[in-house]
C-alpha cells in the first residue's frame, strides 16, 4: 500500500536510500481517526502558525529513524497537492509541515502521515503552549558579539603591548583606545546583561552568589577603562574585559547542554493520548448489551474527541493497547488491564463488567467499553499531580557549590579592595582609586565561575555518552551528597521481557504426578534451574516441535509469544502456518507441517479438549491433572505460564519468570555498605523473600505501595535528614521521583516515555549505578580542586593589584591564563576520571523506537491465569 502510494508519485527512490527503510503499516488509519484535529479548539492550539494561505504544524513522529525517513517526509508535497514544504528535525523526531488550509485539512495531513507509517504522536500535553527556545539563541548571539569584540580588541591592543605605536606616534594609542571602547560597549551592555540581572536578584535576596563579584568586576573594569581612555592616560583593559565575558559565556553555553530528544519535565499529560473514541451520546442510551457494543459496527456513533472535552459519564471505546484516560467503570467486554505503568504490578489484571478501572491502565486484547466516573485530572493516578511535591518548585540548589564558595570569596575581596584603597589613601592618595579597582578587576572570579560549569558540564557529557542523561550539570552536586537510595522493583531491578523462559514438558509433569505436591515443587524448581534461560537441554521438545512453535510465535506480537519465540529461535527457519487464528485473551492456534498446534492459557486449552495431563497416560489422569495444576500454581508464583498442545495432546508449558537485571545483586552489594537502601514496589508480595535475600535484613522492603505511599516514604526519609535518590520508571513512581532529591527515571529505550525526573538513565546502566555515584563524587572533588587553583591565581593577582602596579599587559596575560588553565584542568580531569565508566561492554542503543513500539502495542494473547 505504501509502495503503491510512493510509486504513483515517482518516489521509488525511497527504497534505494536505505537497505531496510523499514516502513511499517501498523494500523491503517481510517479517515475519521483524526477528524477531531479539525475542531477549532484543538486545531488552534496545535498549529504553530496559521493564516488564510498557509498553516504550519509540527508533528512529533516517533517512527522517524533513518535517512530515508528524512527524505520521504521532506518530499511530502509530492504525495498530496496542497502540502508545501516540510522540514524534519531528526534529533527531536519532529516534522514541521506547511500546507494550504484551503486545499488540505489538518486531519488529512495527519492521516497521510499515518498512512505512510509515521503515526503522529498526539499527546494531551501538546495542547499546552509549547515553550519556544529563545534562551539558547540569545546565548549564541551574546557569545558571538563577545567573541567578535574579544578578537578585534585583542588584536588592536597588542600594538600597544609591543610598543608598535612608536612608528605612528601617540595618536594611534588614543585611536585604538576609543576603538576598543566602541567594541566593548555592546559586549558590556548586551552580552553581559544576564550577569547584572542575576547579581541584582541575588542582592535583593541578601545573598552573594557568584554573579555579584562578576558583575562588580565587569563594571569596575569598564569604568576604569573608560576613565583612562577619556582622560587620555592609557588604553584601558577592554581586551581583557571582552575576553573575560567571552570565556564566561563559553562556560554558560557548555553547561547548557540539553538533550533534545529527552524531556525531563513530563507529566501524565504526555502519557495520555490527545483523543479518545467516544461512543454515542452517553446519556441517551442505557447500558447497551455487550454484543451491540462490541460486535455491531458503531461507526455512526463513534466519534474521536479530544481528551479535554471528556466529561464524567461519557462512554468510551478502548481498543487494544489504548489507555484508560480517567477512572472509569467497565461496561462491556472482558478487560485485561496492564497496570504496570501505574502500580508497578507486573501481570495484567482481568476485569469484569461493572468493575472499577483506574486511569493509566492499558487495555490488552479486544475492544472494551467504559464509562468515565471522574474527570481526567481527578483520577486515581492523575490526582498525584495535585500533591505538594508538584505544586511548589523546590528551591533549586543550582550551582550551590560555587555559590557557597563565592559567599566567602566576595567578602574577602571586598575587604582586600577597601583596605588597599585605605592604605594607599595614606601613603599615596593618587594610587588609592586605581588600587581599589585593580583588586576588583583581578579578583573578578572568572576562573572560579568557570570551574563548576566546565567540570560538571564535561562530566554530564561523559555520562551522556554512557546513556545516563542529566537534566543539568548541577544535579551532580546533589548526586554526590546522596546517602539513601530507594529502588522501584518492576522495570528497575527486574527487567521487563528479559527473564528466563523454561519449558516444562508434560512427561515431566506426569512423572511427578504420583508424588506429593511439595515434592513436585522441588522437582520443578530443580528443573527450572537446570533448564534456565531458553530451551530445555533435557528436552521433551523435539527439534521439529521447536520449529513448529517458533513458526507459530512469529505470527504473534504478544510479549509472551515474542519471548518464547526468542528463546527457541536458534537456527530454525519459520515454516508456513496455515489457518492461524489468535483468540484475544486465550491463545493462538494454527497448522504447521500438518500438525495442529495450540498455544495459550490452561482454561482455553481445556475448553478445546486438551487435558492438562498427557493423554497417553489415561490411568494417571486424575492425579496427573492435579499435579499439572500444582505445577502450574508453583510456576505461576515464579512467572507467567503458557501451555502448549500438539494435535490436541497436551505437551507441557513454558514458564516465563521475571528476572533480576544482570548484576543487580552486585550493585546492591556494592551500595549497601555506604548507602541506606530501600525497595518500594506496587507489586504484590510474592517476591518478598527473593528481595529480602538480595537486600539483606537492614533494608526497607515495602510492597503493595500506591504512588502516594511511595511519595510519603521519600518524605519520611527526607525528614530524617537523608538526601534521597529514587530510581524508578513508570508513572506510579512519578511522585517519588519528583519528591526525591535526585529522581532517576529508568528507560528501556531512550525515546520511551519517562516521568518527570532529574536523570534519565538507560536500563543497561542501572547495574552500574554505583560507579555513576562514585563518578559524581569525583567530579565534585574536581570542582573543589579547580577552586583551589583559581584561588592561587587570585592571590598572586591580588597581591600585584593591591600594590598598585597592575598594568594592562599583566592583566591581559593573567586573566586568560587563569581561565584557560582552570578550564583545561576541569575538563581534562573529569574526562580522565570518566574513562573508568567506559569499561565493560555497553551497547549504545541503535534500535529504532518503532521496533520497540511494535512489540508493546499489539498484544493479543492473554497471559495464563491458571
Amino acid at each position: 500500500m505504501v509502495f503503491e502510494l510512493l510509486a504513483e508519485n515517482g518516489l521509488t527512490d525511497f527504497y534505494q536510500l536505505a537497505e531496510r527503510p523499514g516502513i511499517r503499516v501498523a494500523q491503517s488509519a481510517d479517515g475519521g481517526h483524526f477528524a477531531f484535529l479539525d475542531e477549532p479548539a484543538v486545531r488552534t492550539r496545535l498549529v504553530d502558525f496559521s493564516d488564510a494561505k498557509l498553516t504550519r504544524v509540527t508533528f512529533h513522529l516517533p517512527a522517524i529513524h533513518c535517512i530515508a525517513c528524512v527524505w520521504l517526509l521532506e518530499n511530502l508535497f509530492r504525495l498530496k497537492p496542497g502540502i508545501g514544504q516540510s522540514q524534519v528535525n531528526f534529533a527531536r523526531k519532529e516534522a514541521a509541515i506547511a500546507f494550504d488550509p484551503a486545499r488540505v485539512k489538518l486531519s488529512a495531513v495527519a492521516a497521510l502521515l499515518a498512512k505512510l507509517g509515521y503515526d503522529p504522536e498526539l499527546k494531551f500535553a501538546d495542547l499546552d503552549a509549547r515553550p519556544a527556545n529563545p534562551a539558547a539563541r540569545r546565548l549564541w548571539l551574546q557569545l558571538g558579539v563577545a567573541g567578535f569584540a574579544f578578537g578585534n580588541a585583542m588584536f588592536f591592543a597588542i600594538t600597544g603591548y609591543f610598543g608598535l605605536d612608536a612608528f605612528t606616534g601617540p595618536q594611534l594609542k588614543v585611536f585604538i583606545g576609543w576603538l576598543n571602547l566602541l567594541l566593548a560597549l555592546p559586549v558590556v551592555v548586551f552580552s553581559a546583561a544576564d550577569y547584572y540581572r542575576s547579581a541584582w536578584v541575588s542582592l535583593r535576596q541578601r545573598l552573594l552568589n557568584i554573579d555579584v563579584p562578576i558583575a562588580a568586576g565587569i563594571v569596575a573594569i569598564f569604568a576604569q577603562s573608560v576613565w583612562e581612555v577619556a582622560s587620555g592616560r592609557g588604553e584601558g583593559y577592554f581586551d581583557s574585559l571582552c575576553g573575560l565575558i567571552f570565556f564566561l559565556l563559553c562556560g554558560k553555553l557548555f553547561q547548557q547542554k540539553t538533550y533534545d530528544r529527552l524531556a525531563f519535565d513530563r507529566d501524565y499529560k504526555s502519557f495520555f493520548p490527545l483523543s479518545i473514541t467516544r461512543v454515542g451520546s452517553s446519556r441517551r442510551e442505557e447500558a447497551p448489551s455487550k454484543d451491540s457494543a462490541l460486535h455491531t459496527p458503531h461507526s455512526a456513533l463513534e466519534t474521536r474527541v479530544s481528551l479535554s472535552q471528556l466529561a464524567v459519564g461519557d462512554r468510551l471505546l478502548l481498543r487494544n493497547g489504548e489507555l484508560i484516560p480517567a477512572d472509569a467503570k467497565l461496561l462491556a467486554g472482558p478487560a485485561l488491564i496492564d497496570y504496570s505503568f501505574v502500580t508497578g504490578e507486573s501481570e495484567p489484571v482481568a476485569k469484569q463488567p461493572g468493575d472499577y478501572l483506574y486511569a493509566g491502565g492499558r487495555q490488552m486484547g479486544g475492544a472494551i467499553e467504559v464509562e468515565t466516573v471522574k474527570p481526567v485530572s481527578q483520577s486515581y493516578l492523575t490526582s498525584l499531580w495535585n500533591q505538594d511535591a508538584f505544586r511548589k518548585d523546590r528551591a533549586e540548589s543550582f550551582n550551590a557549590l560555587t555559590n557557597a564558595y563565592s559567599q566567602r570569596f566576595t567578602k574577602i575581596i571586598l575587604a582586600v579592595a577597601v583596605s588597599a584603597a585605605v592604605f594607599w589613601a595614606f601613603v599615596n592618595p593618587a594610587k588609592s582609586l586605581p588600587a581599589f579597582t585593580a583588586v576588583l578587576i583581578v579578583a573578578c572570579p572568572c576562573a572560579l565561575a568557570l570551574a563548576a560549569p566546565f567540570a560538571l558540564g564535561s562530566a554530564q557529557r561523559v555520562l551522556g555518552r554512557r546513556n545516563v542523561f542529566l537534566k543539568n550539570p548541577f544535579i551532580l552536586e546533589t548526586l554526590a551528597r546522596v546517602d539513601a537510595i530507594v529502588f522501584d522493583k518492576t522495570g528497575t531491578l527486574t527487567a521487563a521481557g528479559a527473564g528466563s523462559v523454561t519449558w516444562l514438558g508434560a512427561s515431566q509433569v506426569a512423572r511427578h504426578s504420583d508424588v506429593e505436591s511439595g515434592v513436585v515443587e522441588r522437582a520443578e524448581t530443580c528443573h527450572a534451574t537446570e533448564l534456565d534461560i531458553g530451551r530445555s537441554s533435557y528436552g521433551p521438545l523435539t527439534e521439529a516441535e521447536e520449529r513448529w512453535l517458533y513458526s507459530m510465535t512469529r505470527h504473534s506480537t504478544h510479549p509472551l509469544a515474542v519471548r518464547i519465540g526468542e528463546s527457541i529461535a536458534r537456527q530454525h527457519f519459520p515454516e508456513p502456518v496455515r489457518s492461524f487464528l489468535e483468540t484475544t485473551g486465550c491463545g493462538m492456534e494454527g497448522q504447521v507441517d500438518g500438525h495442529e498446534i495450540w498455544v495459550g492459557s490452561a482454561a482455553w486449552l481445556e475448553s478445546r479438549g486438551a487435558r492438562l495431563c498427557a493423554e497417553n497416560q489415561p490411568q494417571q489422569g486424575g492425579t496427573g491433572e492435579r499435579a499439572a495444576a500444582g505445577s502450574a500454581t508453583t510456576a505461576a508464583l515464579r512467572g507467567s505460564v503458557v501451555h502448549v498442545a500438539v494435535d490436541g495432546h497436551y505437551r507441557g508449558c513454558f514458564v516465563l519468570a521475571s528476572a533480576l537485571r544482570a548484576d543487580a545483586d552486585a550493585l546492591v552489594a556494592r551500595l549497601s555498605p555506604n548507602y541506606e537502601l530501600a525497595l518500594l514496589s506496587g507489586d504484590n508480595e510474592r517476591e518478598r523473600e527473593r528481595f529480602r535475600a538480595l537486600f539483606g535484613t537492614g533494608a526497607h522492603l515495602q510492597f503493595n505501595q500506591s504512588p502516594l505511599d511511595k511519595l510519603g516514604f521519600i518524605q519520611r526519609l527526607q525528614r530524617d535528614g537523608k538526601t534521597v535518590m529514587m530510581v524508578g520508571d513508570g508513572l506510579n513512581d512519578a511522585g517519588a521521583l519528583k519528591q526525591a532529591d535526585v529522581g532517576v527515571a529508568v528507560v528501556e529505550s531512550v525515546s520511551a516515555f519517562s516521568p518527570a525526573s532529574d536523570i534519565i538513565a538507560s536500563a543497561q546502566m542501572v547495574p552500574r549505578l554505583a560507579e555513576v555515584l562514585h563518578y559524581a563524587k569525583q567530579s565534585v572533588a574536581t570542582v573543589r580542586a579547580a577552586f583551589l587553583i583559581s584561588t592561587v591565581y587570585n592571590t598572586v593577582g591580588i597581591s600585584i593589584a593591591a600594590s598598585g602596579n597592575l598594568s594592562p599587559v599583566v592583566c591581559a596575560i593573567l586573566m586568560p591564563l587563569s581561565s584557560v588553565s582552570v578550564v583545561a584542568f576541569a575538563c581534562g580531569m573529569t574526562a580522565w576520571l570518566g574513562r573508568e565508566l567506559r569499561g565493560g561492554e555497553l551497547r549504545v542503543e541503535r534500535q529504532p523506537a518503532a521496533a520497540s513500539q511494535l512489540s508493546t502495542f499489539n498484544p493479543q494473547l492473554q497471559k495464563d491465569l491458571a
Binding site: 515517482g10 536510500l17 508545501g84 539563541r137 585611536f175
Partner: protein, 64 residues
C-alpha cells in the same frame, strides 16, 4: 604609516559584516538542529525542483 588609520576601520567593517552573517544564521534557526542537515546533504535532488517555497523559508518562523 598613517594609512593604518584607514585600514583599521576597513578591517572592522569587514569583521562587522561577518558578525551580521553570524547573527543572521542564529536568527534563522541554523543552530537549532545540527543533525538533520548533515543527513540532508546526502540526498539526491533527482526529481523536479522543490515547489515554490511558501511565504516563509525558515523552518522555525514561529519562534521569531
Amino acid at each position: 604609516m598613517s594609512v593604518i588609520f584607514l585600514l583599521i576601520p576597513l578591517s572592522i567593517l569587514f569583521a562587522v559584516a561577518f558578525l551580521f552573517a553570524f547573527i543572521w544564521s542564529v536568527r534563522s534557526g541554523q543552530y537549532e538542529d545540527t543533525t538533520t542537515p548533515s543527513m540532508r546533504v546526502l540526498l539526491d535532488e533527482k526529481l523536479a525542483a522543490k515547489p515554490a517555497p511558501t511565504t516563509d523559508n525558515s523552518p522555525n518562523s514561529k519562534l521569531k
